[in-house]
């Protein structure tokens, strides 16, 4: 044979490429083009806003997945860091009026510092114990948000003036080649570009030395120590990185929504993040994104179609056994349950299965 087989890898460098095979290169290109073009095709503000929130959540979920999926530390306190990031953005981007790169990075730094303070708890606590201690963060955080009025605006919340501006470019009112783009379109590009960047950074992290160490700590922390991985350092490191990313998500959330209040950072938000990374698949970056879109967009989809179900009341106090709104919630819960019964490894599990199937092809066994 004159031509090397398409799967033949000739150097380690080649082997280490993220998008090595022609197929995955094509996949990448397709994804990028989709992200670029989508907002000009789907101009509907509803779907754009759903996708913007999903993108923000995807960023936060990547952070949580690094901590929980990769390093094995369960945290129910994610919402706390998200909130902290939003308030940081309100101060730096809003009150001080600094541009996007600054408020985004300062938020990340605030998240990192808070994560660094909380991180040492992981050294002593395991599994669910850690989960519940981090749950305490939510309540302690809520107390802080309600009482640190100067920063958070107290119960009222605070408006977030952090603008999506980079130098002369204002993504909130983009004008390109004589064409005007809406705030939602601009935010879509901003948020999803950040999703791509953060996903890439996270992917790099997990495929190199520190990422392997995180997973080693998750699988067997004692053995990891014995072969030279300082488990404690990585646990704290994971907390720092994860909270920094969470804070960035919070900053984006605040900037898009323009107003945040203590009611935004509840336990339910943390639980939603847990749901996302489990549904998406623990320990996969791509899964975090899939999970965020799934959990973020599924209710919207259900919403579109459930009113067609007979026996359902479509307005408050209408006739029917169950209101369409309650039904949406129930369907959402039910889908999650069914989905995990079918595929406990999450969306990423389906993906691996498909891949495994095609690898084995044409031998079905």
């Amino acid at each position: 044979m004159s031509r090397p087989h398409r799967n033949l890898v000739r150097s380690y460098e080649q082997d280490l490429r993220l998008f090595g095979s022609p197929l995955s290169k094509a996949g990448l290109a397709l994804m990028l083009v989709t992200l670029l073009v989508l907002p000009t095709v789907v101009r509907d503000d509803f779907w754009l806003s759903v996708l913007i929130y999903s993108g923000v959540t995807a960023i936060g979920a990547i952070g949580l997945n690094l901590l929980t999926g990769y390093c094995g530390q369960i945290s129910l306190g994610h919402a706390f860091f998200i909130g902290a990031g939003a308030y940081a953005a309100a101060v730096v981007g809003g009150d001080l009026g600094l541009p996007l790169p600054v408020w985004l990075l300062v938020s990340a730094a605030v998240g990192a510092v808070l994560g660094g303070l909380i991180g040492p708890f992981t050294l002593r606590l395991r599994g669910h114990y850690l989960a519940i201690v981090t749950l305490g963060l939510i309540f302690i955080g809520e107390h802080l948000w309600r009482n640190l009025r100067d920063v958070t605006g107290g119960n009222n919340g605070t408006s977030v003036g952090a603008q999506p501006t980079i130098g002369p470019v204002d993504l909130g009112a983009l004008e390109l080649a004589g064409e005007n783009y809406s705030r939602n379109q601009g935010y879509f590009w901003l948020v999803w570009a950040l999703v791509a960047i953060i996903a890439l950074l996270a992917k790099n992290l997990v495929r190199t030395r520190p990422g392997r160490a995180l997973r080693a700590v998750r699988d067997h922390d004692q053995a990891a120590e014995v072969i030279g991985v300082r488990a404690g350092r990585y646990k704290i490191g994971a907390f720092v990185v994860s909270s920094a990313i969470a804070a960035m998500a919070g900053a984006l959330f605040g900037s898009y929504q323009q107003h945040v209040s203590p009611d935004d950072w509840t336990l339910l938000l943390s639980i939603q993040y847990i749901a996302i990374i489990i549904v998406g698949g623990l320990g996969t970056i791509f899964g975090s994104i899939l999970g965020a879109v799934f959990v973020g967009a599924l209710p919207a989809l259900i919403d579109q179609y459930s009113s067609a179900i007979p026996g359902v009341a479509t307005e408050a106090g209408g006739d029917g056994f169950i209101s369409v709104f309650a039904l949406n919630q129930a369907i959402f819960g039910l889908l999650i349950v069914l989905f995990l019964v079918f595929e406990p490894r999450g969306l990423a599990g389906i993906w691996f299965r498909v891949k495994a199937y095609f690898k084995a092809w044409p031998f079905s066994y």
């Binding site: 395991r126 305490g136 309540f139 623990l282 819960g333 999450g346």
Partner: protein, 298 residues
């Protein structure tokens, strides 16, 4: 002094409720190794079932409680039947998520059936009081404490005289190895879900029998019981009771002395005191007061 005793009593009553809820968490943790996020949903469901029996069907309150517990247990066991039996040997995370999913399902179903309005649960306790030694005790509070004590005793007898406790721990630790010993994971799961749901119903009804009546937000109490469960040790029924009482007392006493001692820290410090206490205790004892340590040697 009376204020102090009143606060202590309030703490005990609150702690008993926490203990009941925490016991429900512990039972499920003991057999599946996961925290059951649906516990609050089960609690609300149990309370509403109690309402239906006591008010819609006009069954005597005591029987209504028993019926509600039985009905809730049935619901719990069906959860196993429909969902959990398929999850033997699957990653615990998937099971956690399923409990979250269940929570999302239960709540809208409750509102679909019983609506959103606050429902008064007819009951003989309510705001009645008895007086003893210069102190006034709420009848419902006394009953809550009494019921909790009875449940705790029943619990220990159950685990003492059946092999369920051991089977639960074995199943949680290694479901496959437990199966190999002839322990039916299905039976274990079904039993623990049934017990947890019945406990939740009991807690729900004692709560709803107060002046606040019954509304879907009753499920929030489950969150408040987290610190109690973890403080005592996730897999220890005795720990759940101990944790419940400690947290209840801590909360009630900080609340009682908020003005004198804690006004500098902002309003409602009492609500985060359980968490702070929990964190401090866990730093000293990472597995709670009575929890089992993870064992892994190389």
């Amino acid at each position: 002094m009376t204020t102090f005793l009143t606060n202590v009593f309030a703490g005990l009553a609150l702690g008993s409720t926490y203990a009941l809820v925490a016991l429900g968490f512990v039972v499920i943790y003991k057999s599946t190794g996961v925290i059951n996020f649906a516990q609050g949903g089960l609690l609300a469901l149990g309370a509403y079932l109690g309402y239906t029996f006591a008010d819609n069907l006009a069954i005597a309150f005591g029987f209504a409680i028993l019926l509600a517990c039985a009905a809730a247990a049935l619901v719990g066991a069906s959860v196993e039947r429909l969902v959990l039996r398929r999850m033997v040997g699957q990653p615990p995370f998937a099971v956690i998520m399923i409990t979250i999913g269940l929570l999302f399902v239960i709540e809208p179903l409750i509102t679909a059936i019983w609506g959103f309005d606050n429902l008064p649960l007819t009951n003989p306790w309510n705001i009645r009081t008895v007086e003893a030694g210069g102190l006034v005790f709420g009848v419902r509070d006394l009953w809550t404490i009494g019921i909790t004590a009875a449940v705790v005793v029943a619990f220990f007898l159950f685990f003492r005289y059946t092999r369920m406790g051991l089977a639960m721990r074995a199943t949680a630790f290694d479901p496959e190895a437990a199966l190999a010993q002839g322990i039916s994971a299905r039976r274990v799961y079904a039993t623990s879900w049934a017990i947890a749901a019945a406990l939740a119903a009991l807690a729900g009804i004692t709560l709803a029998a107060g002046p606040g009546g019954l509304s879907p937000s009753i499920s929030f109490i489950a969150l408040a019981a987290f610190p109690a469960m973890i403080l005592g040790g996730l897999d220890s029924p005795a720990g759940a009771v101990l944790g419940g009482v400690i947290i209840g007392l801590a909360e009630a006493l900080t609340r009682g002395y908020q003005d004198q001692l804690f006004s500098w820290a902002g309003a409602n410090v009492s609500l985060i005191v359980p968490y702070l206490l929990m964190i401090v205790i866990l730093l000293i004892r990472p597995y709670g007061l009575l929890g089992t340590k993870d064992v892994r040697r190389i």
